[in-house]
């Protein structure tokens, strides 16, 4: 299966971890769009380290990551398991990657944040903050989107809401989506490829 050249990401003999200490050795990967890449494994198995390394936020301990895009718009974006909300309104947070105003309004509509645009982002509920983090990333139109534990602490309704948003993104084959999660994740009509770390 071929994929757009600007978002090709391959790993070879990759070992990930922090401060020179290996957390996991990763099987060789050729990341493509159109599927959800699900990284699973117990606590401390290196899921976050893998996502951060692929996103370019952590250097590999060993091996190579071939990634042909930078950060942000048209690049790679990583969403933390506890996303950081910047001081100021939801609108200010959505404008982090400097999208046009109409793009901000459109993404707010899709993610159910239109009524909250003027609200202080740090006062949102946990579920709303997760939706905002996802919207803030999607509005930048990344080629690669890495989401760390997106369903942690969410109720069933919020989980369905975020999955619907992720589904729309994957259907359009934009971006390549990789999710780290303890629990199994399933999407209708979208294949999920599992990367199990031990």
């Amino acid at each position: 299966m071929t994929d757009r050249p600007d978002r090709v990401t391959r790993t070879r003999h990759l070992t990930v971890g922090y401060s020179g200490r290996a957390a996991a050795t990763i099987p060789d990967l050729d990341l493509i769009g159109g599927v959800v890449w699900h990284v699973t494994g117990p606590n401390g198995s290196g899921k976050t380290a893998l996502l951060k390394t692929l996103a370019g936020l952590l250097p590999p301990i060993a091996g190579e990551v071939e990634r042909r895009c930078g950060f942000g718009t048209a690049g790679a974006i990583y969403i933390h398991s506890v996303p950081y909300m910047f001081a100021g309104s939801v609108r200010r947070n959505l404008a982090l990657a400097q999208p046009e105003d109409d793009e901000v309004r459109a993404v707010a509509e899709v993610f159910g944040l239109s009524a909250l645009l003027g609200r202080e982002a740090t006062t949102l509920s946990h579920g709303e903050q997760r939706r905002l983090a996802l919207a803030r990333a999607v509005v930048a139109r990344p080629s690669l989107l890495f989401i760390d534990e997106p369903e942690g602490g969410l109720d069933d309704e919020a989980i369905q809401a975020w999955r619907a948003c992720a589904l729309r993104a994957v259907h359009a084959r934009e971006p390549v989506l990789m999710v780290a999660a303890h629990r199994p994740i399933a999407f209708e009509a979208i294949p999920v490829r599992e990367i199990r770390l031990s």
Binding site: L57, F71, G72, H80, P83, Y84, F86, G88, L96, A97
Partner: protein, 226 residues
């Protein structure tokens, strides 16, 4: 004592030219010093915070150490640098407001850096990483992070102003307490006290006290609103 305070209040209310001219010099010198310290101190704090944990720790230690320097030591050092036989004597800055502002800048800069750097180090790593991963440029990166610690920026600025505005040692040594030129509230209070003109000393002290109270109240309001 009460009579002296009454005379002092009369001097302030009547608009004694010399008293208000001296207050003007104090404000000019201190605001210049603090403005410069903030303009240079904010990027310095940001660069130190972004340069890794070890360098940030060293920067913090250095800023705290410099903030604790006695003002007379700073004044004496600047005096030796600026005196006719010193390495900067050619600039003829000794006994000028510029020299006083430079001394107060040395007092203010470490305070600004220490307070803002401490706050930046307190931010979770996810704040900086969120900016990087969303493709925020270096210049905007600094702006976003400083906005996150705006309370510390306000506190650092006001603390630096308080220290600069109320210091005596450095201003006296490099300013010389020259009437109409480098005479400030603190240097004049010391002079009037020596002369025994308590009313004038009290009047200037009241202005100094009012400025300190207003400054701290404004800082409190600004910080608690955030």
């Amino acid at each position: 004592m009460l009579a002296e305070v009454g005379r002092a209040l009369a001097l302030i209310v009547r608009g004694d030219v010399e008293v208000w001219q001296i207050a003007g010099v104090s404000f000019t010198v201190s605001l210049t010093a603090v403005f410069t310290a903030v303009i240079l101190g904010l990027p310095m704090a940001y660069v130190l915070a972004a340069s890794g944990a070890r360098r940030a720790r060293v920067g913090m230690w250095l800023a705290h150490s410099l903030a604790a320097l006695p003002t007379v030591v700073i004044g004496l050092t600047l005096y030796m640098l600026l005196s006719a036989s010193g390495p900067l004597g050619w600039a003829r800055l000794l006994y000028t407001r510029t020299a006083m502002a430079a001394a107060q800048f040395v007092l203010a800069l470490p305070l600004v850096v220490a307070v803002v750097l401490g706050a930046l180090r307190g931010l979770p790593p996810s704040a900086g990483e969120a900016l990087v991963t969303h493709g925020v440029t270096r210049a905007r990166h600094m702006g976003w992070l400083l906005w996150e610690v705006k309370s510390a920026v306000v506190s650092g600025t006001f603390l630096a102003f308080s220290r600069a505005f109320t210091e005596l040692g450095a201003a006296l040594i490099v300013g010389g307490n020259i009437r109409g030129a480098t005479r400030t509230l603190t240097t004049y209070i010391a002079l009037e006290y020596d002369r025994g003109d308590d009313a004038r000393a009290i009047a200037l002290g009241l202005i100094l006290l009012a400025v300190a109270l207003v400054t701290n109240s404004v800082m409190h309001v600004l910080v608690s609103e955030r």
